[in-house]
Symmetry: C2
Subunit: 269 residues, 2 copies
């Protein structure tokens, strides 16, 4: 499982305060702890109304000063994401693009440049307008995103498909998370190389004991073929459940990774 650490995010109140006060210690501490816990990427989202590029530059530089994990530049503004690529010491991820507002047609030509060929991109399965509701709609968007990737010569393994994790508490008619899980299953069956990357904690909004709902969702999504997740790498129970699920899916012979992660204190302590 590729883990994108979600803790450097201005939507989290303590992080917003750190950004406003330019509290470098906060960013460095959170970057180092997530990287030490095995985050493959550090998500960096400023969530400020003005001066987003400056805030991203400051956050990215602080994070990079203590951790080697590449950055997932996170913004609703694709131009801010592209602008922030220059602050990154090593290739990371653009988080995120979609067909909406032509973001893909802005980002993919940048990714296609030879100097950016090690960058990846998170692509959401929503369409040009409203959010896609059915598996068929999401698979149709998936097909169009992959066609665009091929048009620009971007290899499948640089694409991180976000299948749109929605909150569970409002679902009815036997829906649950079945649309999401079936979308993941169909993407994995259609393409073994693309990454499938979900924002785990979206599922548990407004539920009690969110950590248990997050764990159950991550486990089911791994069972369906998800191989990447945006999550809190410091949550030991979630990490342990994910490693156990991978072992059950035949991805960890003799539970060697599960056992070493336990010994390293990643979970269970």
């Amino acid at each position: 499982m590729i883990i994108i650490g979600e803790k450097l995010n201005g939507s989290i109140p303590s992080c917003a305060r750190a950004i406003a006060a330019r509290d470098e210690g906060y960013v460095k501490d959170m970057a180092k702890r997530q990287a030490d816990a095995g985050a493959g990427f550090l998500d960096v989202h400023a969530a400020v109304k003005e001066g987003e590029l400056e805030a991203l530059e400051w956050m990215i530089e602080a994070a990079q000063s203590v951790a080697d994990a590449p950055i997932a530049i996170d913004s609703p503004d694709v131009r801010a994401i592209i602008g922030a690529m220059h602050f990154c010491a090593r290739p990371g991820l653009l988080n995120s693009v979609s067909l909406e507002g032509g973001k893909i047609d802005v980002a993919f030509p940048v990714l296609a440049k030879p100097e950016n060929r090690e960058w990846g991109v998170v692509a959401l399965l929503n369409g040009e307008g409203a959010i896609t509701k059915t598996v068929a709609e999401r698979m149709e968007v998936f097909g169009r995103i992959m066609a665009k990737a091929r048009q620009y010569g971007i290899e499948d393994c640089r694409i991180y498909i976000d299948p749109l994790v929605e909150m569970l508490c409002t679902t009815d008619d036997g829906e649950g998370a079945l649309t999401l899980l079936e979308t993941v299953r169909q993407i994995r069956a259609a393409n073994p190389n693309v990454h499938i990357c979900g924002a785990i904690s979206n599922v548990s909004y407004n539920l009690p004991a969110r950590r248990l709902a997050n764990q159950a969702f991550a486990v089911l999504a791994i069972g369906a073929g998800m191989d990447c997740a945006i999550l809190d790498p410091l949550c030991g129970d979630l990490r342990g459940a994910i490693l156990a699920a991978e072992a059950m899916m035949g991805l960890d012979d003799y539970c060697a990774e599960y056992t070493s992660a336990y010994r390293a204190g990643i979970f269970g302590k």
Copy 2:
């Protein structure tokens, strides 16, 4: 999820001491706590070398004096199980039978009697001799068990198939729990009425942080179609993960059961 509470088991040292000392308080306390936590059946396993029937009678009477949940009479000796049916105040489960040693041909005629028509039975998927290793072998045994059930006129919904949960830590070659999960999936596809019942904690023998491995396994098994489990109903995290998984599989609209179980203190406190 139908839960068979596993705590009244002489293989657990504290329970063995309680059985040896005929400590009724221990049995009553464990029976009541499991039933209060929502166990649909209380497993009762004496695990004594001599006097099994007397031990079962004492355990069952103590349990029934404080809890209405029916008993799952658990013994390797099918004659002891049948002998103990008379101690039960209400119909429960025979746990377990298999094709091995002709146990099914002893138990099914008893279940076929009109006065026993509300009793159910746990049937293991091992064959006459060695344990079955492949999905195909287990499905072949499943077919033979169901043929026997029909021969004796035992309805599908009285059969609780145990698909043989094995320890994960020794699996290699990408196996994981895939045989188990695929067996569950195929049984569910073949028969919507039979119950599928696994001993959850078998999966985590010799692993650290067993509770996380148990949770991950229960969630994946629910995703595959398991609807019953032998487990510790007092383990709140496991109960919460199971309820969350059921909501994700579309079995709990608006997460109503998940939320009420949380409010009732079943998990998350």
